[in-house]
Symmetry: C2
Subunit: 144 residues, 2 copies
DNA sequence: CGGTATCCACTTAGATACTG
DNA sequence: CAGTATCTAAGTGGATACCG
């Protein structure tokens, strides 16, 4: 993902797009790295990961069951599974207090914090454009 | 997703995170909107959508089959399906040239362009941090 | 060329029951 | 409390064949 292919967009559109970017994409990225990145992104791009990232971003530190209550609709199985993967990827830190009953706390690592920051722009986009998406859907659906 | 819960992070970590953000998340977002946004994000957060967004960002305008060749590993079915959903969401514009054989071109709408810009930060994060993720995985795996 | 339709193997995720 | 284990229903996506 380099510079956008500008030919088809107006200067206004390009400038509007710019307002969602923190910085420009680096110019010379090793093509091999692009593939790695593509694969990694596909891994993060699932429903629960994004929501958990967001929740921990907002709440700071949460116990397993608290997290479950914050993330509406998630099953215990998916919560465990997703947290385990995020821990493995270095995005969250899991702290076990060996008490009875056991207590386990989850919080973002600094790697998770920066990823959350990057996703923040996507959230902003969604807040600002969800009505446009809604409108597009309705138009698409009604024209047979 | 408001401000990060800052208590657990150092100023350095917070400042590093800031460098991935184009702007700060708006302060007072209707909680009802948050739910809508959450749902919508879950819809975009799939493997193929992100890759197609990226490809059209880079290439500008592509025919159906060209797109298929650029997006490695995608089946015709998924390509059709994903493009149709993105078109419905107003992210891509589909242009049909009624020639024989038919020719269909796809390109990003300005809505798609801005979403691509927002995702750009995530790509940058991935490029800059994929080694850290890799290292985290290896450490996690070897400590049984 | 750019699809749609059908079939099927495989994955996924929820519900449930159980445990340190 | 914070999981693991097992079963199963539903969904997903690939392969193949066919059509305008």
């Amino acid at each position: 993902m380099g510079k956008p292919n500008e030919s088809v967009f107006t200067p206004e559109e390009l400038s509007r797009a710019q307002s969602y970017k923190a910085r420009d994409y680096p110019k010379d990225v090793d093509p091999g790295v692009e593939d790695v990145v593509r694969g990694m992104l596909a891994g993060f791009a699932d429903k629960w990961t994004v929501v958990i990232l967001d929740t921990l971003w907002d709440e700071g530190t949460l116990r397993f069951s608290e997290l479950g209550r914050h993330v509406e609709g998630i099953s215990q199985k998916m919560l465990t599974q997703t947290l385990r993967r995020m821990e493995r990827d270095g995005l969250v830190i899991r702290t076990l207090y060996p008490s009875v009953p056991p207590k386990v706390e989850y919080r973002l690592s600094s790697l998770g914090l920066t990823l959350g920051a990057a996703f923040c722009n996507v959230w902003i986009w969604a807040v600002e454009n969800h009505k446009a998406v809604q409108a597009a859907r309705e138009e698409f659906d009604e024209k047979d």
